[in-house]
Structure formats: structure tokens, C-alpha cells
């Protein structure tokens, strides 16, 4: 058994249920891997452990990866979990934001680090970014519910789900539907690993693919497994179920049906490169490396 | 100034048992006439300081009461009527000599009086040390500063706890000559705890001799010597007679105490 680590990008939740299913079903163990899943958190960036080799693979996002590469990190994207970027602008039905054109004059709460994201969305849709008021918010939807902001920049699967569980049906505008093409939950590994630890990478990704396929087959079961595996994490089942359900359209598509979980097209890469350019990043298609997934899917 | 009312001190059934069970005062009944100087002498540890602290309102008696012209000590203290020089000088370390003395007037809510402060500093022989802080004064100098402070408010009740303990014999005589004129014309009731029998006779109108702990009155001697009493008076037979009486009472008090006599 070879011990390897997979660095998750956030606290445990169905966001990573595919990995839990792989553990649960022994798909990694059978492939000779002993995988530890390293939890993330607000002060636990993904990139450092991957650079230092503490984690073989990390779950990042194309913008984060591009930034790290610009800083000299030798990363490649070897899989794409979220075909559609999960960012939305969430708003309340009484004061909805349904299209980018609704943004000017609105107060949008977000982690300030995400400012470029909104900027990119505005320029993609010819909206005056300077007319949008950014309010720094962090962990919760409370400022929206308290009327402190008109919209929240957040994940479709995160704060809107929490609001729904509190009985608030929030309006969400998925940024991916308005030109914001950016791969999220991307699997990253270093050039060095790609050169020297291929078999481990293949085994790891094989487990992921099998896990996520199982997830798609029964999201409720995935949610139940998630809650059962981490009884101390304070998750509740209905929330995880709803999140699991909402995640599906972001992760699975005709493309994944045809080519398997984690795949991407050359067109998607070009679209990502254009979005990244708006974010001030210039990358080449070489950032994406298909070779591991090809092996996984026996291509 | 002289027409202030005199403040007699009455202790009725006064007793004090400290937290640790040490009985410092047995029921004690004593009256000190207003405007007079009374010396208290008694063996070390008999309760003299305790008595003064009770009179100043710094401690509460276990039983009995102290009355200063009908008022409780705290009430007289609040009027600024009391001043005390402790056995241990207790100057404020961060204030200069001058400000330490001036502080007494502030605390007693009396107007500042730099002239008086300077005069007192001169009288206790600390000329030139106005701006010196206590840490740079010698032991005897600190004690003299504390006396000056006690006099700075022209108190109606003056409690002096061994004020000259750290002062040399010569300075002591000089102080014994120079200081009483400061308070006697004011009708100040002065209680003077002292270890020196001669000093008691020289300064007081009356000497109360206390027994070892718990203090009882062993002797209550009037001192009828004329004033002023120059240092030479200590050699007169009348003076020596009273001193001898006091010393003998002191010795008697110790001998009467079975516990101590056994030691």
C-alpha cells in the first residue's frame, strides 16, 4: 500500500463525496493506494501542500492554479470536477438579481479576494463594474438576510443551500450562464509527480472517477455516507442532500456522459483562457494535462 | 486658629482580635483630653500601633468603640481632622519630598500652602532635599519627612507612632524642642507612641503605660513639669522621678504578665 494524500479545498461535505465513496468501497485500497483526505479550511490553502509534496493531488480551481503557476508553482490540471463554475450571485426574491444588468447600484457581499471574479463578469456582460458596491463579507448569508447587501457572491451549493434550509428561497444567478467559464474543483498535481508518480496519480484519479460515478448514481446515499463518515463535523443530512443534488448539474454534463467524469474539451480550455485573461492571468493550454485521465479511461 | 474646638478621644470597651486570633487589645477604656499631648509607652508588640490605627479609623474594633469629640474616626478623618505618622514612614515613592508633604493638604481638602510646606521641611532639617524622592533619603530623613507631612494639615488629632525611632539622639532632641510649638498652640490632641521614656516625659502632659499584649493600663502618670522643657531638664530630679516611675511601671507590667515573665 502506498500512502498518498489528497488535499481537499474545504471542510468535509458532499462537495467531496466522490472521494468518500472511493474510500468506503475500497477502490483505492484495491489499487494499492492508502489515501488520506486532508481537510481544507479558511486558512488552509491547497497549493502549498501540493507544492511541498505533502499532498500528491490537490483540489483547486483554474484561477487559483493559474495564479500559483504565475508565482512559479509547477502545476498541471489533471482533472476537472466542476465543468460549470459554481459561483452565483444570490439575492432575495423581493430584490432579485437575475441578470448581470441588474448589478449596477447593488451592494454585493463577497470575500474581497473575489473582486476580480465580479470584475470579469461585468466586463463579459458590458456592465459598469464601478457602479457595483462591494461589501466585504465572509462566512455567512446573514448580511443578505439582514438587508445589509442586495446580493452575495458565493457558491451555488453553499450559502443558497443554507438559506433554503432556513426556509428562504434565494434567487441565484449562475455566473457560468453569463459567460464566466472557469473550471473549478480542478485536480492539480506537480510536473514532478506527473513525471515520476504516474501510476499513483492514475490510481488516485481512477478512484475519484469511480467514486463520482457512484455519487451520481445515488446522491442521497452519498449524502448519507458523508454525514456518517464525519459525525463530528456538525453536518446535517437534509442540507447535505440538497447540496448533493444541486451539485450534479455543475459536475456532470453530456461531455462527462460521453467521455467520463473529470473530462474537458479543447473549447472549454480556450474559454477558460479567455476568462483567465479577464482576471489578469495569461496561461497556455499546456496547463491542462489529459494524460492521466486518458489512462484512467483507458484511452 | 486657636479657637477650634478641642477633640477629646474616648475609647470604650475597645478590643481588637486580629484575623489570626491574636488579641491585640483587651477591652480597654481610656479617655484622652482634647488639646493635650499624651504619651503611650509599652513593650514592643503590646498593641500601641493597633490602638492608634483604631483611633484613626484604619481598623474596625472587634468590640467597643472610639469616639472623637462624639464622632466616629471615619467621620473625623473625612473632615481632615486627623493626621498620623506611621512607625514606618510610608511616603509615596514617586513623589518628591515637597509633594509628599503637600499631598497631605490636598487629601485633607485644605488649600495648598507652599510656605508652610517649606517651613516644615526646614524645621525637620531637610532643607535642600525638596525635590528628592524617598528612595534617595536616609532612614531618618524619611521619618522626619513623615512627621512634616503629619503636621502639614495642622490636624486636630495628631497620632504619632514612634516618630523619632530612626533619628539620632541630637536631632531627636532638636525635634522635640522645635516641633511641639507647631501643634500645642493649636489645641491639637496628640497621642505619641514612643519607646523612649525620656522623650515621653519631655513631650507629654500625661503618660499612659501599657502592659504586654493584650494591652492594659499599668500606670497613668500626669507630667506636671513646666513648659517649655529644654533638653537640660532631663537631668532635673523631678524629671528623673517621673521617668523612673514610668520605667518601673513598664517593668511592672512585664513582670505581672505570667506568660512573659516565664520566658
Amino acid at each position: 500500500q502506498t500512502p498518498v494524500a489528497l488535499q481537499l479545498s474545504w471542510l468535509h461535505s458532499v462537495q467531496f463525496a466522490g472521494s468518500y465513496l472511493a474510500v468506503q468501497n475500497g477502490w483505492w485500497r484495491d489499487a494499492g493506494l492508502e489515501v488520506s483526505l486532508l481537510q481544507g479550511g479558511p486558512n488552509a490553502p491547497v497549493e502549498p501542500p501540493v507544492v511541498s509534496g505533502t499532498a500528491l493531488v490537490g483540489i483547486s480551481a483554474a484561477d487559483y492554479t493559474a495564479a500559483a503557476v504565475a508565482q512559479g508553482a509547477p502545476f498541471r490540471i489533471i482533472g476537472v470536477a466542476m465543468q460549470k463554475n459554481p459561483f452565483v450571485i444570490a439575492s432575495l426574491p423581493g430584490n432579485p438579481i437575475v441578470a448581470p444588468a441588474d448589478l449596477p447600484g447593488k451592494r454585493i457581499g463577497m470575500a474581497v479576494a473575489n473582486t476580480p471574479v465580479l470584475q470579469a463578469l461585468c466586463s463579459l456582460n458590458d456592465v459598469d463594474f464601478n457602479a457595483v458596491r462591494i461589501v466585504p463579507t465572509q462566512y455567512s448569508a446573514q448580511p443578505l438576510l439582514a438587508g445589509e447587501v442586495d446580493g452575495l457572491l458565493c457558491w451555488e451549493t453553499d450559502l443558497p443551500v443554507a438559506m433554503a434550509m432556513q426556509g428562504v428561497r434565494a434567487q441565484t444567478m449562475l455566473m457560468a450562464d453569463h459567460g464566466y467559464a472557469l473550471h473549478s474543483q480542478t485536480y492539480i498535481a506537480t510536473d514532478d509527480s506527473l513525471a515520476n508518480r504516474r501510476s499513483e496519480l492514475v490510481a488516485l484519479m481512477t478512484g475519484e472517477v469511480r467514486g463520482w460515478n457512484a455519487y451520481r448514481a445515488d446522491t442521497d446515499a452519498a449524502a448519507e455516507l458523508t454525514v456518517a463518515m464525519f459525525p463530528d463535523a456538525g453536518m446535517d443530512l437534509p442540507t447535505q442532500r440538497l447540496q448533493a443534488e444541486r451539485q450534479v448539474p455543475l459536475m456532470f454534463s453530456d461531455l462527462t456522459d460521453a467521455q467520463g467524469f473529470g473530462s474537458w474539451t479543447d473549447e472549454a480550455v480556450q474559454a477558460n483562457i479567455r476568462t483567465l485573461a479577464l482576471l489578469g492571468r495569461s496561461v497556455t493550454p499546456e496547463l491542462w494535462d489529459r494524460s492521466i485521465l486518458d489512462e484512467v479511461h483507458g484511452r | 486658629m486657636v479657637d477650634r474646638p478641642l477633640v477629646p478621644i474616648t475609647c470604650t470597651g475597645l478590643s481588637k482580635i486580629h484575623d489570626n486570633g491574636v488579641m491585640a487589645l483587651d477591652p480597654l477604656d481610656l479617655t484622652f483630653e482634647g488639646g493635650r499631648t499624651i504619651a503611650l509607652i509599652g513593650p514592643s508588640g503590646c498593641g500601641k500601633s493597633t490602638l492608634l490605627r483604631l483611633i484613626a479609623g484604619l481598623e474596625q474594633p472587634t468590640a467597643g468603640r472610639v469616639s472623637l469629640a462624639g464622632l466616629a474616626p471615619a467621620e473625623q478623618a473625612a473632615r481632615g481632622a486627623i493626621a498620623m505618622a506611621f512607625q514606618d514612614p510610608s511616603l509615596l515613592p514617586w513623589l518628591t519630598l515637597r509633594r509628599n508633604i503637600a499631598l497631605a493638604r490636598t487629601l485633607a481638602r485644605q488649600p495648598a500652602d507652599p510656605r508652610l510646606v517649606d517651613e516644615l521641611i526646614g524645621l525637620v532639617g531637610l532643607e535642600g532635599f525638596h525635590e528628592t524622592r524617598p528612595a534617595a533619603l536616609s532612614g531618618g530623613m524619611r521619618q522626619r519627612a513623615a512627621i512634616a507631612r503629619a503636621l502639614a494639615t495642622r490636624p486636630q488629632v495628631l497620632l504619632l507612632d514612634e516618630p523619632f525611632g530612626a533619628v539620632d539622639e541630637l536631632t531627636r532632641r532638636q525635634l522635640a524642642r522645635d516641633l511641639p510649638p507647631l501643634w500645642q498652640p493649636l489645641g491639637t490632641t496628640t497621642l505619641l507612641v514612643t519607646h523612649s521614656v525620656d522623650e515621653a516625659v519631655l513631650l507629654a502632659d500625661r503618660i499612659v503605660v501599657l502592659s504586654p499584649r493584650p494591652a492594659r493600663v499599668v500606670a497613668d502618670l500626669p507630667v506636671d513639669l513646666p513648659r517649655p522643657r529644654p533638653p537640660e531638664m532631663t537631668e532635673t530630679p523631678e524629671f528623673r522621678r517621673i521617668a523612673a516611675q514610668a520605667l518601673q511601671a513598664l517593668a511592672q507590667g512585664v513582670a505581672d504578665n505570667p506568660a512573659l515573665a516565664a520566658q
Binding site: G41, S140 | L58, L91, A136
Partner: protein, 515 residues
Amino acid sequence: MTTLARQAGSPFALLMLWQLAAAATAGRFLLAGPVEVLAWLSANPGLVGRALSVTLANAAWGFLTGNVAAILIAAVAMGWPRVLPLLTGLALVVFCLPLIATGPILRVMMGPGNGPQIVLAALAVYYTTLIPLLAGLRAAPAGWFDLVATYGRGRLAELVHIRARSSLPYLLAGLQISAPAAFLGAMVGEFTGAERGLGVLTIRFARDLNVPALWSLAAVAAAISIAAYLAIGAAGKRLQTERPPVILAPPRLSRGSAPDRLGHAGLLAVATLALWWGGMEALGLDPFFAKRPPDLLAALTVAPEAAAMWQALLRAAGETAAFVLPGYAAGLALGAGLAMLLSLVPALAELVTPLAIALRSVPIVTTAPLVVLLLGRGAAGTIALVALMVFFPTFVACQHGLRQAPGQVLDILRSYGAGPLRQMLHVRIPAMLPAFFASARIGVPAAILAVTVAEWLATGRGLGNLMTLSASLSDYTMLWLTVVLATLASILGYAGVAWAERRVLRVFAPEQVDR
């Protein structure tokens, strides 16, 4: 009223206030009252119990190691005073390191276990104990040291026979400051990727809008911290039987001169660089996120975007300075003012102290929405957040300091019928100054760390924002530059406080100066 009823009165009043505040903000997902909290806790005892046991154990280890380290450093400094400036300087530098920079390094070094949480808890406390302890180790009358010297014994005997004991009131202040800080440190340490604990649950429940759960965690953290604080206080009371002495110490000519201090600064700079660079090399940390001094130097000089770097840094620093100074001043004033108030009106202590401890032990992410609601995200809110995070050490240290008023001198005042207010003015405040300045030294790096958190939470400006931004962009060069800048600011501020302290204490407590 019986004493029992009186003792129960204040906690009851506190709970009532809390419930009222919760009722007033109902439906806004801000605050849950004690009733909801109790209900949630009784419905989830296992979950809370398990999380608490993890966090509490980490906090306890951090408390222990941090304080032992502080005591050892202080002991070394007393035994060998020439290293004192270097030791306190390094201690300050280490204390200045923000979680956002240390978190990833600790996690990479120590793995997924409890190591980082314990280290972060220890880092949160060692400094707040060290500084008051150093003041306490000096707070003794010269006569006691003379006794040791007549027997020809040196610093070690002084330390063992005098200082160890006479410093207890100050050590106690340090430990009481530490108690909530250790707990909070352990909780916040969990943000770096820990699997279990109250901190992990806090993020979870904040995102889930589970307000009763969020405030239940806050209540548990506060309760534990209050209990630890009170236990330390009670233990201290049993040790502290005698009245504080009058501390007479002869005035001394200043021994430390300006060139000396420059020398110390130079030595500190060299030692810091050596430890930083050498440490990173020795641990083999990847230069991607563990930047070495030359990396930063290059970024500021030869790199093509050096000018932009400078500009970004200086702009952020300017924005931060505008908040940190008033916040620091407000925190000191609040802490010292509250301590004085409680000394004058002791009955208020039972109401104010638990609240103060709670504010210090509950993660800012829980309380920030309340502050923002009351004061907004502008200057007032940010300054208030900084003040809230700074005031506690000052509050505790000043309370202990006020109790250091020499009993004999207070007797003098009482013999003049001076009441509590004049005792405060003439004796207690002067006697408090060494403790106050100790807390003012603590406050400098604390304020700078606090403002970076507040900026990230509330304003989105300044160094705090630059730090988070750089971290999310993997711009570790910029991140470390901001860390260096914040550290330099702390050192400068600290030197300023030390300068003022020397002038004031030369008069009020010469035993504290130039040892």
C-alpha cells in the same frame, strides 16, 4: 439580600441582558439567546462534547507550553540580562506572525493532526505572559535584593528566593490573559485544516446560518474561558495573602544609551534574519510559500514590478495606520478605564468580567456581525473591532496593577478620609503604571494583528486585505512582505511605548527601568 442571592444576581442579570439582546435582533440571524442556546446544547450534547474535548485539550497544551516557554524565557532574561533585549525582541517578532502566514507552514510541517492548533494556542499566549512577568520579576523593593547580595549571592538566588515569588501577581495577570487567548488560539488554529473541534464547527455553523448552534459554541468557549480565568484568580488569591509592599528603589542613571539601543536593534535584525532564513532552510520548506529574505529583497529592488509592490504596500500600510492607532488607543483606554471602574465599583465586576472574557474568547467571526450591525463597516466598526481585541490584556493587567497599591500608603490616605476615588488618583493609578505599560507593550502587536483581521472581515482595505488577497493569489512574496511590514510596525510601536515607559517609570517605578 442574602449573599447567595447577590452572587446569583449578576449572572442572572447577564443572562437576562443576553436574552433581551437576542429578542431585539430576532429573525436577523445575528444572535441566539440563552434559551435557544440551552435547547441546542441539550439536543446536541455528544457533538459539542467531542468537539470541546479536542479543542480544550489543544488549548490546554498550548496554554501549558506557551506559558512554560514564557517563564523559561523570563528566567533566562533575569539570569542573563544582556540577552533581554534580544529575547524580548525575538518574542515580539514571533508574536507578530499572522495566522494566514503561519497556518500553511505549520500544516505542511506538522500534518493533519493537532500540532498546528497547539502551536497556535501556545503562540497566542507566551507573549502575553512574558511581558507582564518581566515587569513582575522587577517589582520588588531594593531592600530584598540587598538581603541576597549581603550573602554574596547573585541573580540566580535573587530569582529563586525573591523574584519568583514577588512576581506572582504579574504572572497571574499573564495567566489570566492567557486563558481565553489559548482557547481562542486553539479554535482559530482549526481554521488551518483541522478535522475536529469547536473552530471547525464554528465555520460550519456560520455558513449554515445555524445561529443557535453558532452561539452555543460561543457560549461554551466563553464559559470555559471564564471558568479558567476565575480558577486562576482564585488560586492566585490563596497565594497572595500579604499586602503589596512599598517599592523603594533608588533612582538610577540610565544605563541604556541611544547607541546601545541601536546595537540591540541591529542584533535583533541579524538574529531574526538568521532564524527566519536558517529555519526555513533547515526545515526544507518550499520557497513557493516559504519566502526567504533575499526573495523579498529582490521583489522590492530588482524585480520589474518592484515599484508596484512598494506602492501597494505603502498604500495598504497607510490605510491600516489610520485604523490601528485609534483602535489601539481606544483599546488601552477601554481596558484601563474598565479596570479603574471595577476597582471603584467592585459590584460591577460580576457583570463586566464575564462579558470581557467572553469578548476575548469568542471567535471574531461570531461577534463581527453584531459589531457591524451596531457600528457599521466604516472607521467606527473597524476601530471598535481592534479595540475589542486589544482591551482585554490591558483590562486584566490594570486590574492586577491597581491591586499593587502599597497597603501602607493607602492607610495614609484613609487616615485623611480619602475615599476610593482619591485613593485611585493618588496611589492606585501610579502603582498600576508598570502593569499598564506591560499591557501597552502587549497591545502593540495585538492591535496590528487585530486590525488585519478586522480589515479582512469588515473593510476590505489595508494590510489585512492585502494579506488575504495575496494568500488567495498564491502571492506569497507579497504576503511575506506584508508580514515583514506589520512586524516592523510592531517593533517601531513597541519601541515607542518602551520610550514613553522609560520616561514615566523612571519616576513612578525606577525598579522597572534599565535593568
